[in-house]
Symmetry: C2
Subunit: 119 residues, 2 copies
């Protein structure tokens, strides 16, 4: 694959998709565990950077979503990294509680074995 300017630049230049979003991948700073995947628009990214608390764009509710706004399980941002083509953001956090709305610590609480899921 060709290496582009966006792959090499030292200037943040997110490659927003047609809906104005990039993918956010959230991991736990202590355990390293993958906690959740959500999406950010420019406002969510700006809020995440200015407050140090993870914000997303809720596609189902079509509004800015401060993670933990209802549950109290906010996520303090410890590090932010971006991938080569700048369409995915790695958000390394200190979570105040479970990441998943099911109450599980991580949204990825099921292993895939063939067509079966194992908790």
């Amino acid at each position: 694959m060709v290496v582009t300017e966006r792959d090499k630049t030292l200037v943040l230049n997110p490659a927003w998709d047609a809906a104005g979003l990039i993918t956010g991948i959230v991991t736990d700073v202590t355990s390293g565990e993958l906690l959740m995947v959500a999406h950010l628009n420019a406002e969510a990214l700006a809020l995440t950077q200015s407050t140090g608390i993870a914000h997303f764009w809720s596609r189902s509710r079509s509004r800015i979503w401060k993670k933990g706004e209802e549950s109290g399980n906010v996520m303090r941002v410890r590090d932010l990294r971006i991938d080569c083509d700048q369409d995915a953001l790695w958000i390394i956090v200190e979570p105040a509680g479970p990441a998943c709305h099911t109450g599980e610590r991580s949204c990825f609480f099921r292993r895939v074995e063939g067509s079966t899921l194992i908790v």
Copy 2:
């Protein structure tokens, strides 16, 4: 948020998006590092499961993409997990070499500090 049937089921039932894709998050089984993010359609998921080697759907080339098919840096799948709403797959791999087409070990080789990226 409401807990749905898809959140609880023990049957694999990916929530394909309008383009027939789910998001794949790839981490290194040894270091735990986030290596890359790519997308899978049903065929890529089936190939990943049947061969034990990570396959994706290349959106830029509109074809199945066996990661490492050109570079030799294939990824052996050690574990597969899926998130609550089944639109993201966590692929834990043993990589044969750098994940990124730039030659970096991880696509997330730049830290975000304000509007600056730091290698």
